[in-house]
């Protein structure tokens, strides 16, 4: 059985941290016998990846004046944790996003690059007018 947590909120930057902290809390429910340091790192991976994904959902919404809704779903299975971030922004396809030019040290454009680096799998798809970004990582000690 998979437990699912769902959080819905308006697309404002001020709520990014609510989703991010929810990810940390969810990760901490993983009662693994694994190393506490590993668990902290696992929790931080989700804290950061969710912050990046939700920030994108806010930043790239159609109209900043009439803020849309964002939904974050967190699922914890026996072997992995999965977070889906859903928004109604214009369609985008993460396989088409080029990596940032790290050595030029840009001031933005790191979001998807970071998610890919710290998650095991990052996918995006379009469904009924929603962008769904799905991030998955194996639980520590599995």
């Amino acid at each position: 059985m998979v437990d699912k947590l769902t959080l819905g909120f308006p697309a404002h930057f001020k709520y990014v941290r609510i989703a991010s902290v929810l990810g940390v809390q969810a990760a901490q429910f993983i009662d693994s016998e694994s190393d506490p340091e590993e668990l902290l790192e696992f929790a931080h991976a989700f804290e950061l990846a969710i912050s990046e994904a939700v920030t994108n959902s806010v930043k790239h919404q159609r109209s900043l004046s009439r803020s849309s809704k964002i939904v974050v779903e967190i699922e914890i299975s026996r072997t992995e944790m999965t977070v889906a971030v859903m928004d109604s922004n214009p369609h985008f396809d993460i396989t088409q996003i080029p990596a940032p030019e790290l050595d030029a040290h840009p001031e933005n454009g790191y979001g998807i690059y970071i998610m890919r680096k710290i998650m095991d799998r990052v996918e995006s798809r379009r469904e009924n007018g929603w962008n769904i970004l799905i991030m998955t990582k194996k639980r520590p000690g599995v």
Partner: protein, 114 residues
């Protein structure tokens, strides 16, 4: 987000507290007085920063560039492991001297500048 400031002799020390993300990067942008920006001896003490994402990092990089424009520099102090990881992932660690101690960082600036 609270950003404390401290002047150590001629060095401006900026101490952001809490979480730095897209909701409060503007505080980082405003954290440097015009004078300190011209003087160009800036230390950012990261020991009280609890969370940083790439939006926050972008603001820190942008501040560094402003300081460097006046031939100054900004040093970093004591990022927690999870903060340091963001610098490393993005290679931004290569842009900064990172110290364990504010006073050592403050003393590291070349003296006798105009």
């Amino acid at each position: 987000m609270k950003i404390y400031q401290k002047i150590l002799e001629d060095v401006c020390i900026i101490i952001p507290h809490g979480r730095l993300d897209a909701s409060n990067t503007h505080y980082i942008q405003k954290s440097l007085s015009e004078e300190a920006e011209k003087e160009g001896r800036v230390v950012m003490d990261l020991s009280s920063l609890e969370f940083l994402d790439s939006s926050g990092l972008g603001a820190i990089i942008s501040l560094l560039r402003r300081v460097k424009k006046n031939d100054g520099d900004m040093k970093l102090v004591c990022p927690a492991d999870k903060i340091r990881r963001v610098f490393e992932l993005t290679r931004a660690d290569r842009m900064f001297d990172i110290y364990d101690d504010c006073e050592v960082a403050a003393k590291s600036f070349p003296r006798g500048k105009a």
